[in-house]
Amino acid sequence: MHDLDRIIRRGRRNDRLFNVLGATLAVVCLTVLGVLVAQLLIAGIPRIDWQFLTSFPSRKAARAGALSAWVGSLLVMLITASTAIPLGIAAGIYLEEYARKNWFTNLIEINIANLAGVPSIIYGLMALGLLVYQFRLGQSILTAGLTLGFLILPVVIVATRESLRAIPQYMREAAYALGATRLQVVRHHLLPYSAGGIATGVIIAMSRAIGETAPLVTIGALTYIAFLPPAPFSPLPAGPDGASPGMYGPFAWIMSPFTVLPIQMFAWVSRPSSPGNDFAPNAAAAGVILIVFTLGLNAAAIFVRQRVRRRVKW
């Protein structure tokens, strides 16, 4: 009896100890994060106004803006999302549901896991060699989007596979037993049931990509862009003779040079500032926009997850 008492008391004490420890660590982490964000917000928010959002960079700090940067970030992410998401999900489905398990698929599996850990600048080097020099895609939005797409592809694949693996096998059997084909099982059951997990993984990958700087610098993103990529069907600049030369195609913008928020931030941070021409608030303001994008993506992830979780249970 006595012994039992002691054991229980010790167990309780350890529980409490761990509780305190965990809570402390959580508070410390959150505080550090909070201080960092607060500092950024204090420095950046006063600088954010309509002028800042709608102006191109300038040598005068007060006249400079982040227009080309945030538009660039959005367009690059658009390319990244529209390539990496479908490809990654398809590859994940193939590996998890279609591929026979053998040495070859094992090899692919290991390599994908490794790819997720490759430093991002390596992707930049690869993209420089492959996309810029080999395929002559230029230092364009397309190149940047594809580079970041390569970067997050393994993450999307792994997230897809994990989410599919979380679906109990008896769900698949229930559908197969009614005569569903493999594709029908995937479309009617596996994809809807795993949508929450996949969306979470995809969005977290996207919020990593949106902050990436190194690979884009490597492929040659510019730091000073004083124009926007051509909007679809906007008129081409008039020739010397003044004749109307027609308009841009719907996808002309993907070949445009670009910059993105983190690069613009870096450019402003590293710029020598003189009294009356301080670029630090600009950098902080660009950082705030970046964080808003990231938080927006994460909010979307939470929203999707909650919705699917309410619908899908087993």
């Binding site: 026979r100 398990k101 109990p168 008896y170 769900m171 698949r172 059997e173 229930a174 559908a175 197969y176 037993a177 009614l178 005569g179 569903a180 084909t181 029908q184 009617h188 059951h189 049931y193 619908r311 899908v312 249970k313 087993w314």
Partner: protein
Amino acid sequence: MVAGKALMTPDRSSPYRPSADPPSGGPISLDLPGLPDAPRPAAPEAARIKADVRGLSFYYGKNQAVKNVSLAFRERSVTALIGPSGCGKTTLLRCFNRMHDLYPANRYEGQILLQPSGINIIDRHVSPIEMRMRISMVFQKPNPFPKSIFENVAYGPRLRGVRSRSELEGRVERALKSAALWEEVRDRLRKPGYDLSGGQQQRLCIARALAVDPEIVLFDEPTSALDPIATSRIEELVHELKSKVTIIIVTHNMQQAARVSDYTAFMYLGELIEYDSTATVFQNPSKPLTEQYISGHFG
């Protein structure tokens, strides 16, 4: 009785005829007009055969789980598969809808002839999809889809190309009625299937299996996860269903086998030990092993 027997005779041989029966030789020969309420014969040989298992062996890789089993399942009757854990009941059952095809390295040998056409279910050239469309399964653990009650039942018909809303609704209602669930869920067809109790979920799964008018329904220990009341509802249901379909049910529960089945097959270590009418198997088994199992000496 004599007239009934005479009428049965061509039926017994019909499964082995190469092509389809003439229309008059259908399973309803007992209902011919003028016949005074012919009783359903009790002896195994008397009813028409729905599925004829011949020399069936099944291998999980190198591990042989079903060993040269031959038996004929009678149409519109309930056949119970009993035997100690691991004797291959589930394995045998899952041969019928080719569930083993989902996993690599599984191998069938022998034949399961689906009558009256005589198509060999486990032939590699026969589509597993077709077999699953004709033979439904109810699993041990209730496994409704995380969709609405309606969508759960409508899924099978949808897979078979039923698009019309009204037809789907009709089928869902009929299936839920057959599964004795309609009264409980009629006002909440749009609610998720997993909001139901365990027993209701299992009846939902039965409705889902019935909505496609299957020729055979396979039950793999359908009540093992349920309480006694839910169990007896399912048993009643199985009893009613046999007027429409052929039923094969795996069970660990001797009383259940005795209550619901017309025929009982006793398996042991992958082999079929005894197969006869349930009454005979339980009251007068011919093999000592069967008797030992039934009287609870092992298993």
